[in-house]
């Protein structure tokens, strides 16, 4: 489809979901998927089914919790929200991500790109 579509690195989807929930509060699966796509300026086109696998993983680790509720347009939907330990994990992962990104950036920007 879109040749500009970005492939997500393994494990980053979880991070994105966590961050989304952290920013938006309580949200259902479709909402999370849409939000990620919007924020990325539609550069990331998710296979939306994978969102649910990510949600299950995060739930199993106790980083998010789920509850059935009523959506804006009066529909029954499952709402997810971040837990305190999820917030802690998010902070940790974010700083980790930044460090890794910085290192990789440095390596890639060094001349030649060959190993010493």
């Amino acid at each position: 489809m879109n040749s500009q579509k970005l492939d997500l690195l393994q494990g980053t989807l979880d991070l994105l979901v966590l961050q989304t929930l952290n920013a938006m509060g309580s949200l259902h699966g479709y909402g999370i998927a849409r939000r990620i796509e919007q924020v990325s300026g539609d550069l990331i086109l998710l296979n939306q089914g994978t969102i649910y696998a990510s949600l299950v993983r995060l739930q199993q680790r106790g980083w998010i919790s789920a509850k059935w509720g009523i959506s804006d347009n009066n529909r029954k939907a499952k709402f997810y929200s971040i837990t305190p330990s999820g917030r802690k994990q998010l902070a940790e992962e974010t700083s980790n991500w930044e460090r890794v990104a910085a290192v990789i950036g440095r390596v890639l920007s060094s001349s030649g790109g060959t190993a010493q």
């Binding site: 998710l46 649910y52 299950v56 739930q59």
Partner: protein
């Protein structure tokens, strides 16, 4: 937090909840798709196109479901299964390790289970349901100064008819009679019992049946149930007795059943045979001459005091004769809880000692298992390091350790249960005070299973915790850098193992000391001088038929039997007495030296009794075999002479034995002791059997054999008695030596169990030391080789290896001796005439332990010394 726990719960049961989860997800998915469609429609797509786009973006419903299910997965369970598979695969390669650990743990778990559940059964479990609600009827006897469990129909019938406190009654009318089944006459105590008797007291038939309701009428009551022991004695355990006809006191009965060996229960008065009781037939019942033994089961919620008040009121018997009511006014009817009046074993020092000992054994077993597991993990530390370097978290690896411990302990628990199943009956035999206790001995009940489970969980925790805590994965780099040679034993491992070995040796030492003390104590008990030798002494009880019960007839019969038996080769002496030492005693209250009532032992004897018992004449002369004058005569024992006359000569003095009766002392004989633990001996007097004036129903003989009293010899004695009097009922002879041993059985059996526990503990401790020493030798093989190559003597190597092991052993011994010094005072009450700090025992057991320690280190030291340096160095 609760969210996490819920989560864990959810995950644990996810396989079972899979359907529910999938349905829930379908709902969520449907919701997702509809929302997406709505969005697309709002953006201007047709409904059909919107739906297509929504599904495409989702990546297909089936795929979404698949990934969801995978994510939910059984990740937790999966990794557990992985661990289990991994551990089992490892054990298949190392069966020796797994077997050793399982065997050691099973030994610990099995012993603890057996002893715990035996003590639980003896101390905390009641023999049958509602036991605590049973009450015994009786009254306080002014003459005996004690509660006497006698009651009378005139008292009991009103209680049965109008009593509101009672649920059911077990009534027995006790009588003495003679039974004849065609061969021998036997004196029996027969009990006529009411309809509910066996149901209240939990009597069950081992053969045949118990009474039917219609047999409790005068016409149908000629049926009989035999008590188990009597059936074995009199009928030689013949299963064909059912349906046979027997005569008891001229009345014919048909045998319908034999009771199980667990009846009668402890504390209940035994009867040999049982018949149905039909009350209201005998006019003597109102006279208070028909004595009953009555047990009532109180209604639930009725207190003993309430029942007591009601019994006293209803038991006043307004319809009884005046004489009976006068007597009743002196001692009204009372109730006594059966659980109180029977001696229930309370938690005592024996139980404490056994629990302590088995606790030590358990600890030693666990420590040994921990030690083996530690070594294994140490050998695997490279692998663990790699796992940890590849991202295996500490908790993930701890989980592996717990899984391994779980598998080992599961196997050990099952094996331990089998062990407990074998051991429990043996232990129960020691602790149980009655056969009833043995009823459930063989089966392992739910309580036993719970105990095993608890013990296994405990050992699982112990075996997992230390390795998990001490696991060398702190820094994988260090481990990985250790290069290929794993010859250096890491310091933490060496130290941990050394302290474990020392702890084992110390605990084994405590057990050995305890066993040593018990051994000496039991040996002292065995050597106690009772004042007579029980060896070769046989007691024989003969029930006399009616025509031989009068004093004169009885005397003539006794003389004839004694004379005949004295001619039997192998019999040295024959004597008659109304009581036989160790079996019974004739207690009597007489006016003491200062006139106050004093309890003494009074026996009539034939002259042969003194010689038969081997008593020594200290002063005066023996009792004469014929009356010599008109007055009564007696021989007294040392204690009585001492108490009545002090240092004065008692010969020829008179002792009052009743208000108006005094007898002349002819001689003083040596004391003998029945209770070997008591320091003092009861005053005792003997009088000639020709002096008795009341009819007697039985004759007890004491036979002193110069040869081993074989069954054939005893059979010939029986035959001779029957030649003299065919109707005489000869009971099974009793070996006094066995009775003497029985008196200290409690100590002997406890010693047996303690001995076994401490032997196993010592072996385990030695095994631990052996494994530690040989492991370090195997790791230092290269060092040893180099040292030998450089000229160290084999002897030197041997001593250095041995020295290290023995040093650890000595640490343990020292620690164990100090612990014994503190702990053994708790078994003081089990020890007879020996201090818990007996130096002899401490030295002997320490030497024994040292020997065990030395032999454990000997083999590895020997192996080290015989290393061939050239071969070792060539191997590099």
């Amino acid at each position: 937090m609760s969210g996490r726990i819920r989560e864990l719960w959810r995950r644990l049961f996810s396989p079972w909840r899979a359907r529910a989860l999938e349905e829930e997800f379908d709902e969520e998915l449907a919701c997702h798709i509809e929302m997406a469609i709505e969005d697309h429609v709002r953006a201007g797509m047709s409904a059909e196109e919107a739906r297509r786009r929504a599904l495409v973006r989702l990546g297909g419903q089936t795929q979404a479901r698949e990934t969801h299910r995978e994510a939910w997965g059984y990740t937790w369970l999966d990794s557990l299964c992985d661990d289990v598979r991994y551990v089992l695969r490892a054990y298949r390669k190392l069966p020796g390790f797994a077997l050793a650990v399982v065997a050691i743990l099973a030994l610990g778990i099995g012993s603890v289970t057996a002893i715990f559940s035996a003590i639980d059964q003896v101390v905390f479990q009641k023999p049958f349901p509602h036991y605590e609600r049973l009450a015994l009827f009786g009254s306080h006897s002014a003459t005996l100064h004690a509660f006497v469990a006698n009651s009378y129909p005139v008292q009991i019938v009103p209680c049965m008819e109008r009593g509101k406190s009672f649920e059911a009654f077990a009534i027995k009318h006790w009588q003495y009679g003679f039974i004849n089944a065609g061969v021998d006459t036997y004196g029996v105590s027969s009990g006529s019992v009411n309809r509910e008797y066996f149901s209240v007291l939990n009597g069950k038939a081992a053969l045949g049946r118990l009474f039917r309701p219609e047999e409790f009428t005068a016409a149908a009551s000629s049926v009989m149930v035999l008590q188990h022991q009597f059936w074995k004695d009199y009928f030689a355990g013949d299963p064909g007795v059912i349906g046979r006809s027997v005569v008891v006191d001229n009345r014919h009965y048909r045998i319908v059943g034999v009771l199980s060996h667990t009846f009668p229960h402890s504390g209940l008065f035994p009867s040999d045979v049982f018949m149905p009781l039909v009350l209201g037939q005998d006019p003597a019942e109102s006279e208070g001459t028909c004595v009953l033994e009555t047990i009532a089961r109180l209604r639930p919620g009725v207190s003993m005091a309430q029942a007591n008040a009601e019994a006293a009121l209803l038991g006043a018997a307004p319809h009884a004769s005046q004489r009976f009511r006068d007597q009743y006014a002196q001692s009204p009817m009372q109730l006594r809880s059966l659980a109180d009046s029977t001696r229930f074993p309370h938690f005592s020092s024996i139980h404490g000692a056994l629990l302590g000992a088995v606790g030590f054994l358990f600890a030693i077993a666990c420590i040994n298992a921990v030690d083996l597991v530690l070594v294994r993990y140490s050998e695997r530390r490279r692998e663990l390091g790699i796992r940890s370097a590849l991202g295996g978290s500490r908790s993930r690896m701890s989980r592996l350790i717990f899984t391994e411990s779980f598998i080992l302990n599961l196997a050990a628990g099952l094996l331990g249960l089998c062990l407990a199943w074998v051991m429990k009956p043996l232990i129960l035999r020691t602790l149980a005070h009655s056969d009833a206790m043995l009823e459930n001995a063989a089966c392992l009940d739910a309580r036993t299973l719970v105990i095993t489970l608890g013990v296994s969980l405990l050992s699982m925790g112990l075996v997992a915790l230390i390795p998990a805590w001490k696991l060398p994965i702190r820094d994988p780099q260090i481990i990985l850098r250790e290069s290929g040679n794993a010859c250096s034993e890491s310091r933490w491992l060496r130290r941990t193992r050394a302290s474990l070995v020392v702890a084992c040796a110390a605990m084994a030492m405590v057990l050995l000391t305890g066993t040593g003390l018990m051994t000496r104590s039991v040996r002292k008990l065995l050597l106690v001088d009772r004042g007579f030798d029980a060896r070769g002494r046989i007691a024989m009880f003969i029930d006399l038929p009616r025509h031989l019960q009068e004093p004169l007839a009885r005397q003539i019969f006794a003389d004839r039997i004694e004379a005949r038996l004295r001619q039997v080769p192998g019999i040295r002496n024959v004597g008659e007495s109304d009581t036989i030492p160790l079996l019974n005693s004739g207690q009597k209250i007489i006016p003491g030296p200062e006139g106050s009532p004093t309890m003494v032992s009074a026996n009539y004897v034939s002259p042969g009794f003194f010689r038969g018992m081997g008593l020594k004449l200290l002063q005066g002369r023996w009792l004469p075999s014929r009356p010599e004058g008109s007055g009564g005569v007696m021989v007294i024992n040392e204690s009585m002479a001492e108490k009545w006359f002090g240092k004065q000569n008692p010969i020829g003095r008179k002792i009052r034995i009743a208000q108006r009766t005094s007898w002349v002392v002819l001689g003083v004989v040596s004391d003998f002791r029945v209770d070997i633990r008591s320091k003092s001996v009861q005053p005792q007097y003997y009088f000639p059997s020709w002096q008795i004036v009341y009819p007697r129903r039985a004759l007890s003989l004491l036979l002193d054999f110069s040869v081993e009293p074989s069954p054939a010899l005893l059979q010939s004695v029986r035959k001779i008695i029957h030649q003299v009097e065919p109707l005489a009922g000869v009971r099974t002879p009793v070996d006094l030596e066995k009775e003497a041993h029985r008196a200290i059985n409690k100590e002997r059996f406890t010693l047996g169990i303690l001995g076994a526990l401490s032997a196993v503990s010592t072996l385990l401790a030695a095994f631990g030391l052996f494994s530690v020493t040989s492991y370090s030798v195997s790791l230092r093989m290269k060092d040893v080789g180099i040292r030998l190559a450089l000229g160290a003597s084999a002897r030197h190597v041997f001593v250095s290896v041995l020295g290290r092991g023995v040093a650890l052993g000595i640490c343990g011994i020292g620690l164990g001796l100090s612990a014994s010094w503190i702990l053994t005072r708790h078994i003081r009450s089990l020890l007879y005439e020996i201090s818990p700090l007996d130096p002899m025992v401490y030295v002997t057991t320490a030497l024994l332990m040292l020997a065990a320690v030395c032999s454990a280190c000997w083999i590895p030291a020997h192996k080290a010394a015989r290393t061939d340096p050239s071969r070792l160095l060539r191997m590099e």
